[in-house]
């Protein structure tokens, strides 16, 4: 115990930031409570708190609002926020660069393309297959789209363990354009119902949260949250370059493969259920690196917390600002995230030769 305590206090080794951890957990809790108790239906904190102690409990209508609308939306917000933030950390570790964000480098676009194709082309599947796959088709198609985009991007931008940042960002633009074009073709092919699905999905919103959609996306996100901690030390070592990571005893190919899989799966699942919500993956890890250093063992769990909390808050804002209408949450995150991205870019200017 004393050894542990003294090793924590050693100069240059940053201790576990328990204060920050506690703060983030509080943030997630507060955001969750706010999210559950605010909305157009008028079911407020007071009613919720009184319910267990009053004879009649919640009305049927309130129950529906709580369990079938607000709760799935909250869980979706938490899961998508954590997924996007963790996906950002994994990508940045893989590319050794803080500018890699699933939205910016085209992985979100690839995932989106997968989702769009699943929505439109899914109707061509034989009925028994469609029944079998059901709600899982869109998340998995998004995952494969994101995966293909990540692999392509890595091939294009990385040689000998070095990532060329300019190539990475340009490849992201190209991937985005390609996905946009094919999406256009799909829209052209779509029938009315599919068109409605597409439009709804493409706006980037948590409004469509249902338990059914969650059941399809959540396992993928939980799987990533499960494998991510095992990648932390490998990603730390990768910061010294691929060769050194290998000499530090890491199976570099395996670390890279798992990071690519994790980033694609998390992005794919998030995009499939919520459309394009950008910049969470770049803002969250960057703020945390400033606050507690780049060690991935701490960065990954804290990013999951901050991403979850921030996205639920953003969702809350998106449905309160223009209430009773809703602003798509993707617009909100871009409004704050894009200037932030520019700020990182300016700070990095000299050091862009990643």
């Amino acid at each position: 115990m004393t050894a542990l305590a003294s090793s924590r206090a050693r100069p240059g080794l940053r201790p576990v930031p328990y204060g920050l951890t506690a703060g983030l957990i509080l943030l997630v809790l507060a955001a969750s409570i706010l999210s559950l108790t605010s909305g157009a239906a008028g079911l407020g904190l007071g009613t919720l708190l009184k319910a267990p102690f009053s004879a009649e409990g919640l009305t049927l209508r309130d129950k529906v609002v709580l369990y079938d609308i607000r709760l799935p939306r909250l869980v979706m917000g938490l899961a998508v926020g954590a997924a996007l933030a963790v996906s950002g950390v994994l990508l940045q570790g893989l590319f050794r660069n803080p500018l890699a964000d699933p939205g910016i480098v085209g992985i979100g676009a690839g995932a989106g393309l997968g989702a769009v194709m699943a929505i439109v082309l899914g109707s061509f599947l034989p009925l028994w297959m469609a029944d079998l796959i059901g709600a899982h088709l869109v998340p998995f198609a998004a995952f494969f789209g994101g995966w293909a985009a990540t692999l392509l991007l890595y091939r294009a931008a990385t040689a000998g363990g070095r990532t060329d940042v300019a190539t990475m960002l340009l490849a992201g633009i190209a991937l985005g354009a390609l996905a946009g074009a094919v999406t256009g073709v799909m829209v052209y092919m779509a029938d009315d119902k599919q068109l409605r699905d597409l439009t709804f999905w493409g706006m980037g919103s948590l409004a469509g949260a249902t338990w059914g959609r969650l059941a399809a996306a959540l396992p993928l996100i939980l799987l990533v949250l499960l494998i991510a901690p095992g990648l932390a030390r490998g990603l730390n070592a990768l910061a010294l370059g691929e060769a050194q990571a290998a000499h530090l005893g890491h199976n570099v190919q395996s670390v890279k493969r798992r990071a690519i899989f994790g980033a694609a799966a998390a992005t794919g699942a998030a995009v499939a259920v919520s459309g394009g919500i950008g910049f969470v993956g770049i803002v969250v890890p960057h703020l945390l690196r400033l606050a507690m250093g780049p060690d991935h063992r701490l960065l990954l769990p804290h990013s999951a917390l901050l991403g979850a909390g921030l996205l639920v808050l953003a969702d809350l804002a998106s449905r309160s600002i223009v209430a009773p209408a809703e602003l798509p949450i993707g617009i909100l995150t871009a409004l704050f995230g894009a200037p932030f991205f520019l700020w990182i870019l300016l700070r990095q200017k000299g050091a862009l030769r990643g």
């Binding site: 050693r10 050794r96 070592a237 910061a239 010294l240 290998a246 000499h247 530090l248 005893g249």
Partner: protein, 259 residues
């Protein structure tokens, strides 16, 4: 013992190493010398499995091609010629990565000791990116030292592979680092170092391998290898050579003539 047998390696479809065989013994410092572009770094990378190469490499009697990365990490540490770090890791955090990779993860005070050994005791908290070139090189050396801290382990001697360990160091730190390498070998470890400085190599190395154009041009003790005809062939200039009573040959660049 490090046994390199008949190594061929190509970079960008051009053969760079044309069949080099070389052995290094634990307890000794082996200096690999030769002109720019001769293939010294490539030889080191091929021996370390960083690049695909034909031939065989055995470390302590075991073929390294089939060994697990985590096992090798307990037996050898590597200082690369070119050292970049992504993200703002502190010097201590970088040295800790070395410590965790080796057999000494539980050793208290090791980071401080390794940093002190390279003269960076006061730099533990500094982000790597704020260091000078020589400080960066020395902090990576501290990381390598923390990884193979004791020269002899349960699987035999441990090894330090250093690509130009003193290239960007001042005179005092050049000597400090070379003495470290010397001491590591004297305690039973193996040291393989790519060197440009012939004087330091002659002072501190037991054996020398001289590479020219991807081939082993000479091998032996520094006094055997460093002959006027070889140096003229390698560097294209006549070098003024002298012999110090205790430390063998030494050289003066002022006296170099255009060949």
């Amino acid at each position: 013992m490090l046994e390199i047998t008949d190594i061929y390696a190509s970079l960008a479809k051009r053969e760079v190493l044309h069949g080099i065989s070389l052995t290094a013994k634990a307890g000794q410092v082996l200096a690999i010398c030769g002109p720019n572009g001769a293939g010294k770094s490539t030889l080191l990378k091929a021996a370390l499995g960083e690049i695909p190469a034909r031939g065989d490499v055995k470390l302590n009697g075991q073929s390294t091609a089939k060994a697990k990365a985590s096992d090798l990490a307990r037996q050898r540490a590597v200082l690369p010629q070119d050292t970049q770090v992504a993200f703002a890791f502190t010097v201590a955090e970088i040295v800790a990565m070395g410590q965790e990779a080796g057999d000494f993860a539980a050793e208290p005070g090791l980071i401080e000791a390794a940093l002190a050994a390279v003269g960076l005791a006061n730099h533990a908290t500094r982000p790597f990116q704020t260091l000078s070139g020589g400080e960066r090189q020395r902090s990576h050396l501290a990381r390598a030292l923390a990884q193979v801290w004791q020269p002899i382990g349960p699987q035999g001697p441990r090894w330090l592979f250093l690509d130009e360990p003193v290239a960007s160091l001042d005179l005092g730190h050049q000597l400090q680092v070379m003495r470290l390498a010397r001491a590591y070998a004297d305690q039973g470890g193996g040291v393989v170092a790519v060197m440009h400085d012939l004087n330091l190599s002659a002072m501190f190395a037991d054996r020398m391998a001289f590479i020219i154009d991807g081939r082993l041009a000479a091998e032996g003790t520094p006094a055997e290898v460093l002959t006027a005809p070889l140096l003229e062939r390698a560097y294209g200039c006549k070098v003024a050579m002298n012999t110090a009573p205790q430390s063998g040959p030494w050289f003066l660049p002022q006296a170099c003539d255009q060949a």
